[in-house]
């Protein structure tokens, strides 16, 4: 278990300290409870564009990166549909530099037109590099739109289309900042060679004076329970046909989430897993096949995807996947399979927690859901799952009326 101490500031900022004296380093991680789901459907991609703007200078410090590099630090950030997360890693002796920088940009940004202009252009290039200039790069644009009809999870964090980013104005940027960037909407974790009392004193010093601004009350349309399956077909210049199926998952905090995690391991974690052995090696229908879950807080997706071998029709490939899904609903998994995924999960947990960042982020993620040790307690629940419970969860998970299928068809070349 990761050890930690926590402390709340009067402005609502939650602070967590994880002390580890075996490293010369420290990480300051700050998670903001804002993601692509908080965007206006006509202004998508904004949370992510905003993440870029957070590096464009704050009210007292013209540039973010240079002073951090001067203290031997590096940083990065990422945006998901639910959250925006920033982290700095540096020699533990220099942790105060990270407090100084992070607190100033929570106080207020510089909001320069030049920064907006440049980052808009950088994000458009990122959009092209990662989503348009790669074979199958746009698949999640299609899958999200197909899988969610009401909930804002229907667009990816990069945004629905490039034009939304092109149209971003400085006014939008400012109002987004004051709506979502607020001490009470953030979780600060410091992990590494810094004692908790030092961490809490620095938090009071740098973040304490920032006033609690109006807290935004989230009001997001719930995704209605799906009652009929949906399909979509698209054509593109890609080398192989690809098949994607998604099923809505139950709540992130429910037992069903743990079961889905385990089901995805049994179906496709590693080369001894069912889908690889049956569909790739034995039946030779796919060149690759994968099953995985996404952890969106308001309900993620269980996804099964594969690239079809040449001359394999979609119908045949889809039937083969269905046969595996039927089997896992009808028959209990074997003791050996259960044992295997549980052992693998323990080792990967141990290896994962060697990383200081993973420890910091796991605490932050858990705190967002009300329990810093959530991710680790999930692992205990995973170890306790039995075959019959898993089977009954599989029946809910793979209800045929809730499936969404995308046929990604390769244009003849």
């Amino acid at each position: 278990m990761i050890t930690y101490q926590s402390h709340s500031l009067s402005n609502g900022l939650r602070v967590i300290s994880h002390y580890d004296d075996s490293t010369p380093l420290a990480i300051l991680n700050i998670l903001y409870d804002v993601g692509a789901k908080d965007e206006d459907p006509e202004k998508t991609g904004f949370a992510h564009l905003f993440e870029h703007l957070m590096f464009g200078g704050s009210v007292n410090i013209p540039e973010y990166d240079t002073p951090l590099q001067m203290a031997g630090g590096e940083n990065n950030a990422f945006t998901s549909n639910d959250i925006t997360n920033y982290y700095n890693q540096l020699p533990a002796s220099n942790i105060e530099t990270a407090f100084w920088l992070e607190s100033d940009r929570l106080l207020s940004l510089a909001f320069t037109p030049k920064s907006l202009e440049v980052q808009r252009s950088v994000v458009i290039e990122e959009f092209k590099q990662r989503y348009l200039n790669q074979p199958y790069g746009d698949v999640w644009h299609h899958l999200r739109e197909l899988s969610y009809t009401q909930h804002p999870y229907q667009w990816p964090t990069i945004g629905k289309e490039v034009s939304h980013i092109e149209k971003a104005r400085l006014e939008d940027v400012k109002s987004f900042f004051f709506k979502h960037y607020n001490p009470a909407n953030a979780i600060l974790v410091v992990a590494g060679n810094c004692k908790p009392e030092h961490v809490f004193a620095l938090a009071e010093k740098w973040f304490g004076p920032i006033e609690n601004r109006n807290v935004y009350v989230r009001n997001i349309a719930k995704e209605p329970i799906q009652t009929a399956s949906r399909t979509k077909k698209i054509n593109a210049k890609v080398p192989l046909n690809a098949l994607y199926k998604t099923y809505p998952m139950s709540d992130r905090l429910s037992e069903g989430y743990i079961a889905a995690d385990m089901l995805s391991d049994i179906l496709s974690n590693g080369k001894s897993s069912r889908l690889y052995q049956r569909l790739v090696l034995e039946q030779k229908l796919f060149s690759s096949v994968d099953a995985y879950i996404s952890g969106e807080l308001d309900g993620g997706l269980f996804t099964i995807q594969g690239k079809l071998n040449k001359n394999v029709p979609f119908e045949k490939a889809e039937l083969a996947i269905q046969a595996e899904l039927d089997k896992i609903q009808q028959e209990k998994v074997t003791d050996e399979e259960l044992h295997k995924v549980k052992h693998k999960q323990i080792t990967s947990q141990h290896f994962g927690l060697l990383s200081l960042f993973n420890r910091a982020f796991s605490l932050a993620q858990g705190e967002l859901l009300g329990n810093p040790l959530l991710v680790q307690e999930d692992q205990v629940r995973f170890q306790k799952m039995d075959a019959e419970t898993l089977r009954s969860f599989a029946q809910n998970q793979f209800n045929p009326h809730t499936s969404n299928t995308l046929y990604y068809t390769a244009d003849a070349q």
Partner: protein
């Protein structure tokens, strides 16, 4: 009142030292132990030296090494992987340009059982033909996806020009070449791995009780005696031509740029100086190139300059994915930045920044127990000179603007670049 303008004070350690392992010889095989008793996991690396002695090349080796786990005389691949999974163990197979590594990640409590599987795999790997054909088809299909990417095409064209198609670094197989890999290719690779004169072992993590288990495994391996000493292959590198080379791809939305020229090897006395100068120029987020091409012009999501050292030559390269409309202008700007470093002295402030940034990176690189081992292996394999990291730290402290200018003038060649652009040039 809190002063938010002034940066807080910071400090750095005065020197840097790589952690050294305990070393034991078993026969002629060196075993190195990095003990971290508080950890619950361990990694055992089996490292096989390879100085391009094989007819096989990097792109092929990368694929062939993976097939070691695909079946033995007595077990199918499914049985092997299931057995490893049962113990929660994972074997990672990596072919390198200068050494190959088989890394076993596991809970040390299962080491004896896991190494039994490992020994069986190495002794009895049988490459079952039917199964391997399926895997080769998959590999070939994956390559078919890769070759449609601008990044793949730019890298291939660049390295082919620098090394020549006969060199292990310059050869890129076609999808049909992958399909035709045959038994002799596997056998050749396996004999390399079972040559004990090339092996060294590194144990990292909770090492208690592991030495004996590893020694047992070594004793059980069916070593092949190498009848003739291996002589590193000699390659004649093509004479370098600076030119613009375009690769057209119909479906591309962006261009991939690779600009560069041959450069220093890691053993050269100026290598560290050039490495630092290259970092300042394009090796980090605050670099000259990032500031200009990304943060000022917004042409790209990222642009990097790198100095890579291979066994025959070093390569200095700039890489970026760039908007279609901007690539020509980006090349002009890149050359302008190269000349600027040659013509104008770097400010004391920028030197201070790069010194501190790299010191931080040197420390940040060691954020897990395995990172130290990885660096140590590179030194042991003769890829990185001994005390490289220590002298890097020292040279950073001695850095000044004259030195940077001298390095840029001597080793940056803006007038003699190979310029590769992969993209769609139709519209």
């Amino acid at each position: 009142m809190l002063n938010r303008i002034q940066a807080p004070a910071f400090s750095f350690p005065q020197k840097f030292q790589l952690r050294k392992p305990e070393k034991v010889l078993h026969g002629n095989i060196p075993i190195h132990l990095f003990d971290y008793p508080k950890n619950e996991v361990c990694r055992i690396d089996w490292v096989f030296h390879n100085q391009f002695v094989q007819g096989l090349n990097f792109e092929i080796n990368e694929r062939v090494i993976k097939f070691l786990l695909e079946g033995t005389v007595h077990k199918t691949s499914e049985q092997i992987i299931s057995a490893l999974d049962y113990y929660g163990a994972y074997i990672d197979l990596k072919a390198g340009t200068e050494y190959h590594t088989i890394s076993i990640y596991m809970h040390p409590g299962f080491a004896a059982q896991v190494l039994d599987i490992f020994v069986e795999v190495l002794n009895e790997a049988s490459y079952p033909q039917h199964h391997i054909q399926t895997l080769l088809q998959i590999e070939s299909d994956k390559l078919n996806v890769e070759i449609q990417k601008t990044s793949y095409q730019a890298r291939k064209t660049f390295l082919e020009a620098l090394f020549g198609g006969a060199h292990p670094m310059g050869y890129f197989p076609k999808p049909q070449d992958v399909l035709q890999l045959a038994e002799e290719d596997f056998a050749q690779f396996k004999s390399l791995v079972l040559d004990q004169s090339k092996l060294s072992v590194y144990i990292t993590g909770k090492t208690h009780g592991l030495l004996e288990i590893v020694q047992n495994a070594i004793d059980k391996l069916a070593w092949k005696s190498s009848d003739k000493p291996t002589v590193p292959a000699q390659f004649i590198l093509p004479s370098f031509l600076s030119r613009l080379q375009k690769v057209h791809l119909d479906q591309a939305n962006q261009c991939t740029l690779r600009l560069g020229h041959p450069s220093l090897r890691i053993t050269h006395p100026d290598y560290i100086g050039l490495h630092i100068t290259t970092t300042l120029f394009g090796g980090y987020f605050g670099s000259r190139l990032m500031k200009n091409i990304r943060e000022d012009k917004g042409y790209t999501y990222g642009i990097y300059a790198l100095l890579n050292s291979y066994s025959d030559q070093g390569v200095w390269v700039i890489a970026s994915d760039i908007g279609k409309a901007y690539w020509e202008d980006a090349i002009v700007e890149i050359k302008k930045e190269m000349r600027l470093l040659q013509e104008e002295k770097v400010s004391a402030e920028e030197i201070h920044l790069i010194q501190n940034y790299i010191k931080g990176m040197l420390l940040n690189q060691f954020d897990s127990i395995f990172a130290n081992t990885d660096k140590y292996i590179a030194i042991q394999q003769g890829i990185v000179p001994e005390f490289y990291f220590e002298s890097y730290f020292e040279q950073l402290n001695q850095l000044d603007s004259d030195r940077i200018q001298h390095i840029a003038q001597t080793y940056f060649k803006p007038q003699a670049l190979l310029e590769v652009v992969a993209g769609n040039f139709n519209d």
